[in-house]
């Protein structure tokens, strides 16, 4: 049934209804009607029309109508003549009735009055209870709202947790194999890299060796007199000098070992800016100093050594020690390093050199002199392997000389121990030996130690002094 009914053939109600629905739809789309459906509207109106709004009997009405006594009753008659008698008669009856009825009405009116008061009081109470209930309702609504929000948050968190679980599972299944693969590839690459690095280092070592060898051959070639160059089949040694570079390479050991050996001394020259290496040789000390950021230069009397050092880019000069020291300002050096030199010098030269060293050094800096240890029979026995060695210098002698030239805080450091396989072997402390035998083994081993110290003591020593 349509909302409207128009009984006119010229008017099409359906068309009107369509128009109305269309207009409503448009207004809804424009947001004018919002979501108000008919039910919601009824809800709004029913709230307004709630029983509280339509107060059945206001207290005023009750209060004004509690008195039920009929005071407006009047006795009259339309009959002109008979009326007077009728009125009198009715008044008489009315009086009698009132005498009987009035007390009851009076009581009823009193009761009504009390009830009206009671109602009024009750109404006030109900009103305050109603307010309280309304307050409670709004509180409950608030709580429900909060509860709903919390629930939705919990649900959201749950769903997020689920999502995360799923995602982590996916990660496990998808990413971990990928990571494994990548790790494997990285490891294999690293291995490749390290192998290639090692190969490179080996190659560079070989290259270096080749360079050195080529350099040596060039040096040697320059020394061969032209006339002999053509007859290479007859090598002679007319040159009184030996090739000290080759000699060092053979008897002193490879440069790498020397570098490691010198590392024990370099800390004495930390932060120094003007260190002199007397007898720099193949420049191991200078190289070490350069790596540590210490400014150091070297002098040597061997031209081959100087050329080699120069090829390495080191700061060196072909000079005799005294000549070089004389050319240096007094108190300008903050370090002097002299390794495997003093055994090549005459005592006078040594003393003069040490005096000059003291003079050229700044106060508070170190001088280190390293030489062959004559206290070890093994190194003393090998002392003259080097033909250029003049005489070994006893540690105490060197200490004394340093002391007398003005150095202080002098200490001695022994180094280059003899490999244990060369030394005398100790007797083993076998199980089941008698106590006496064990005692004898102990004494023997002590003696072996003493002999080993005398025979196979440290091959080198260094005297360190401070100006």
């Amino acid at each position: 049934m349509d909302t409207f009914e128009i009984k006119d053939e010229e008017i099409n109600v359906e068309e009107i209804m369509d128009k109305i629905r269309e207009n409503i739809k448009k207004r809804k789309e424009c947001g004018i009607y919002k979501n108000e459906s008919r039910e919601e509207v009824e809800q709004v109106f029913s709230e307004i029309s709630s029983p509280r709004e339509i107060i059945p009997q206001e207290p005023e009405t009750i209060n004004s109508s509690y008195d039920i006594r009929n005071s407006s009753y009047s006795i009259s008659s339309h009959r002109p003549v008979l009326g007077k008698f009728l009125i009198k008669g009715r008044k008489l009856v009315h009086g009698e009735v009132r005498r009987y009825v009035d007390p009851a009405l009076q009581k009823q009116s009193e009761l009504n009055s009390n009830l009206a008061n009671l109602l009024s009081d009750t109404k006030e109470r109900v009103s305050s209870y109603y307010n309280e209930i309304e307050q409670l309702k709004t509180d409950i609504e608030k709580l429900e709202c909060e509860n709903r929000t919390l629930k939705s948050k919990i649900e959201q968190l749950n769903s997020e947790a689920k999502k995360l679980n799923i995602e982590s599972e996916q990660l496990k299944s998808e990413i971990i194999p990928n990571i494994k693969k990548e790790m494997e590839s990285i490891v294999s690459k690293k291995i490749e890299l390290s192998v290639s690095k090692e190969v490179e280092s080996v190659i560079s070592a070989i290259d270096l060796d080749l360079d050195n060898k080529a350099w040596l051959s060039r040096i040697l070639e320059t020394r061969i007199p032209k006339e002999y160059k053509q007859v290479t089949n007859f090598p002679t040694t007319t040159d009184s000098e030996i090739n000290y570079y080759v000699f060092e390479e053979k008897f002193r050991g490879p440069r790498e070992n020397i570098l490691k050996h010198f590392a024990g001394f370099i800390d004495y020259f930390a932060n120094c800016t003007n260190v002199l290496d007397i007898g720099c040789g193949r420049g191991e000390f200078l190289e070490l100093a350069r790596d540590r950021g210490i400014n150091a230069r070297g002098i040597d009397v061997n031209e081959d050594m100087i050329n080699f050092c120069k090829s390495k880019g080191l700061s060196v000069e072909l000079k005799d020690a005294i000549e070089a020291l004389c050319g240096i300002d007094d108190k300008s050096l903050d370090g002097i390093f002299i390794s495997q030199v003093v055994e090549h010098l005459s005592p006078d030269y040594l003393i003069s050199m040490l005096n000059l060293c003291n003079r050229k050094m700044k106060y508070g800096f170190y001088i280190i002199i390293e030489t062959v240890n004559p206290l070890s029979l093994f190194s003393f026995a090998n002392f003259y392997i080097d033909l250029s060695h003049v005489k070994p210098v006893h540690p105490e002698t060197l200490k004394f000389l340093l002391n007398t030239t003005g150095f202080r805080d002098i200490e001695t450091k022994f180094s280059s121990p003899v490999p244990s396989e060369i030394k005398l072997q100790k007797l083993p402390d076998l199980e089941g030996l008698a106590e006496k035998s064990r005692l004898l083994v102990g004494i023997c081993n002590q003696n072996i130690d003493m002999i080993n110290n005398a025979l196979y003591g440290a091959q080198d020593y260094a005297i360190i002094g401070k100006k």
Binding site: T3, E5, I32, F45, I48
Partner: protein, 364 residues
């Protein structure tokens, strides 16, 4: 035998209400017919003249006379006893009694009066009157249900010439502007569901046309609680353009019809609904809830509302305002319907009853 007289009797005659107006009009018609005719009542409105006290009727009472009893509310035993004692032929003109349930919680006085009125109709008037007429077929059914034997319909007699007076200027000046004026005319009473009219207006005013007003034309005297309730509703809905006119004079009523754009009634109980005729006369399109005697009075004119769908009603109000073709067609049909209620026609029906049913009947 001299010509018999035809008089009317009622407990009260009020100024400007439907029954009072009709009583005056019937008297005029009867006088025009050449009958001696007067109105007898117990309570007379001070504004009215030429009305007699019921007690004086005894002077003219005669078995040949016809006494028309109007009935719309409680008579009271005194008046009923008086009428019962008369030898005249008694004709009932039933205007309908609003079911007491409508007044529950709003007016115990009205509830009580209507209950008594119904009781009187069923138990006393039925035994007093000789013929019972109703202003509508709907009302006639009430009479049949109450056990009346001889019944008929005499539609409301209205003299539209009474509107040919100068309308009240103040009202026209106040409301004659570009605003759409929605009219609700009639006593402010719960059965008229003025609250539903306010709800319709709420939608129209809030969502469709804020430049509109609702004019509630009619007295709210004795209906304080309902009036308060309506005011509360208006307040809660935040409506600003709703006006209660209270009791008004005829010239003011004319002015309201003149400035009215749409007539709306959501009433759920009407015995006839005279304002429908007035709207037809003043060419205001009618939008009326389909209940009780309303469809009968409209007789196919105007627009009937079958469901109280406030949104759709608001939209239709808008169509009636904006669609001139629709509006003119509705007004045209209303004007055609109005001819049915012409004074001459209704007077003719009355004359027919006088000449037939009334004449032939014997007084009880």
């Amino acid at each position: 035998m001299g010509k018999f007289q035809i008089h009317q009797i009622n407990p009260i005659i009020s100024y400007g209400d439907a029954i009072g107006n009709e009583m005056v009009e019937i008297r005029e018609v009867l006088r025009e017919f050449g009958y001696e005719s007067d109105i007898y009542v117990k309570f007379i409105h001070p504004k009215l003249e030429d009305i007699k006290n019921y007690a004086d009727y005894i002077k003219v009472s005669s078995p040949q006379n016809i006494l028309i009893m109007h009935h719309a509310t409680e008579y009271g035993s005194e008046l009923l006893d008086f009428i019962r004692s008369l030898p005249d032929k008694k004709i009932l003109l039933y205007h309908n009694i609003t079911p007491p349930i409508f007044f529950q919680n709003f007016s115990s006085a009205h509830e009580h009066a209507t209950k008594n009125g119904i009781y009187e109709l069923k138990h006393e008037i039925k035994n007093i009157v000789d013929v019972a007429l109703a202003v509508s077929e709907f009302n006639r059914q009430d009479l049949i249900n109450a056990g009346f034997k001889k019944t008929g319909v005499l539609p409301y007699l209205n003299n539209f010439n009474k509107f040919d007076i100068t309308p009240d200027r103040k009202v026209i000046q106040k409301y004659s502007d570009e605003f759409v004026n929605l009219l609700v005319v009639g006593r402010i009473s719960p059965n008229k569901k003025v609250d539903d009219a306010i709800k319709c207006f709420y939608y129209y005013n809030k969502y469709i046309n804020s430049r509109s007003r609702l004019l509630l034309v009619g007295s709210y005297q004795g209906m304080d609680l309902y009036y308060d309730y309506l005011n509360n509703l208006i307040l809660k809905l935040g409506l600003k353009n709703v006006y209660f006119t209270g009791h008004i004079n005829l010239d003011e009523l004319i002015s309201y019809y003149k400035i009215g754009d749409v007539f709306l009634t959501m009433s759920e109980h009407e015995g006839f609904c005279v304002p429908l005729l007035e709207s037809m006369h003043f060419e205001v399109p009618i939008l009326a809830y389909n209940s009780t005697a309303i469809p009968e009075t409209l007789g196919g004119a105007g627009i009937l509302i079958n469901n109280k769908n406030y949104i759709e009603i608001a939209e239709l109000i808008n169509l009636l305002v904006e669609d001139q073709v629709l509006r003119n067609r509705i007004i045209k049909k209303q004007s055609e319907r109005l001819k049915f209620f012409s004074r001459e026609r209704i007077a003719g029906i009355l004359k027919h009853y006088i000449d037939t049913d009334f004449k032939d009947t014997d007084s009880k």
